[in-house]
């Protein structure tokens, strides 16, 4: 086991996109303990996705130092990605896409299995387990493009669970879903958090939909964490009103 106090430890991190001058996230300090469930909220363009992608090394940071699992992010990118589940923001999928759900869930394990190796029975077992965890085992042989929004999101979640991550980064997993799917995914996240002790950092647009297990909320605005407190305090605070003023996401 690795020695680390905080599963995520960012110290003065700034990330600038190639060819741009202004950092999207600026001087971020963030410590996340193992087993926490954190919601990350903020208006559009606040840098929420950038922060997530900096944590798992999809984006390089230019200032500061960052550690995940006690490992320096920019020196262990591939290793970190293999051990961190990442659910990207909803993307459009061609309804004729020629992929079966089980293959998509397996593709989450691809990095972990490694090059020149084929999936073993054990890998498939993990795939079936993560599919049944999200209640989608009957969809194993269904084409991915034919799923509803909620079903699709569950498969994508199963895909990152198949990675057997200790840290799960979710980029707006609840957006574009109807109310019942939202509730289902929320319950699912709570269950995953409780039963597996997975640390979760979830980007959310919607202040009304912060899952029950989430105790800590971070507010990001203009690339900086402006609030970091318990859920109850933050959702009642006037600052939220100010930030989300004239904003559709006001809770």
């Amino acid at each position: 086991m690795l020695e680390y106090q905080n599963i995520i430890d960012l110290r003065g991190i700034s990330t600038i996109y190639e060819g741009e001058k202004i950092p999207v996230i600026n001087n971020i300090d963030l410590k996340v303990k193992s087993g926490e469930f954190i919601s990350l909220i903020g208006p559009n363009g606040a840098g929420k996705t950038t922060l997530l992608e900096t944590i798992n090394g999809l984006l390089d940071y230019q200032k500061g130092t960052g550690f995940v699992f006690g490992k320096k992010i920019n020196k262990n990118k591939t290793w970190i990605r293999k051990h961190v589940g990442y659910v990207i923001q909803n993307f459009e999928l061609d309804p004729l896409a020629p992929f079966l759900c089980k293959d998509i869930v397996m593709s989450g394990r691809t990095g972990k299995i490694g090059l020149f190796r084929f999936p073993t029975k054990k890998d498939w077992k993990i795939v079936w387990r993560s599919m049944s965890m999200v209640g989608m085992i009957d969809f194993a042989k269904r084409p991915i493009g034919k799923l509803s929004g909620g079903e699709f999101q569950k498969i994508i979640l199963a895909r990152s669970l198949a990675q057997q991550p200790r840290l799960l980064l979710l980029d707006e997993p609840l957006s574009n879903l109807d109310l019942s799917s939202k509730k289902q995914i929320e319950t699912l996240l709570n269950r995953v958090h409780e039963s597996h002790g997975i640390t979760i950092v979830m980007v959310s647009h919607d202040l009304t939909n912060v899952p029950a297990n989430c105790k800590r909320v971070l507010v990001l605005d203009k690339g900086q964490i402006i609030m970091d407190d318990s859920k109850d305090k933050i959702l009642r605070s006037e600052t939220i009103d100010r930030i989300f003023k004239n904003n559709e996401f006001r809770g």
Partner: protein
Amino acid sequence: MNSGGRFFMVNIPWMFLLPSIFGAILAGFSCSTMGNFVVRMNLSSIGYCMSHAAFAGAAFGLLITLDPMFTAVLFAIITALVLGPLAEKARLESNVVIGFMFSFMIALAFVFLYAKPGEVATGKALSILWGSLFSVDFNDVILLSVLSFILLIFITVFYKELLAVMFNRKMAESAGINTRIFYFAVLFFTGFAVALSLKIVGGLLVFALIINPTSTSYQFFYDFKKIMIFSPIFGILSCLIGFYFSWFYDFPIGASIVIVSALFFAVAIMISPKRRKGNKNKEKIS
């Protein structure tokens, strides 16, 4: 060309046709196999440019009396190296790439061909433009066999990585796959496939052999494994049927291959179970 074809038909033993037949089968296999990845990874525009670059390369080879196949591969790979990184970072819009590169490469090819007058060169030049039954020799068949063999191994060994990259590149990257290697591997193999198939199908039409068979099998299957098996089958069938028409009815080989593959696609669209299902019960996407 017409009278020559009929003349040969009577006199030449079937042995002489073997390289052409094998060439057609292997070209059909390698092009349509790469097509699976090109279509799914949205590399059509780069592939299109590469096939025309290969055409210009072959013309250049004729001009400087080098093996046209070698220069075709060279031009295609250089194009992949230049356009690949630009397209990867979405710095180029595909319409612009096509508009610019397509005309530029064709213009280059015509300049090279024009600069090399003489009857022999013209015959060869025509063959790289339109494709030819008889330009395929034993050497070409060996090269195409090697390429097909490497492709088979590449796909078998890296199937899980390729599938992940094709589904969504960012998600594959986030699972710890170095997607860049696979992106460029697909580009390079596509370059080889178009360059080596150039002599049979012709520089102007070779890219159809990448797109059509894959698009045909996309109409029938949701399982990528099945698509991987059936698009080469459609590709090889197109080449063999095209070959048949070219041989017995004197059609230009490249054109008949492409027309056959286009007919396959048209029929597939009409009878596609995918499209029918989609129309009947509209998905309830929330």
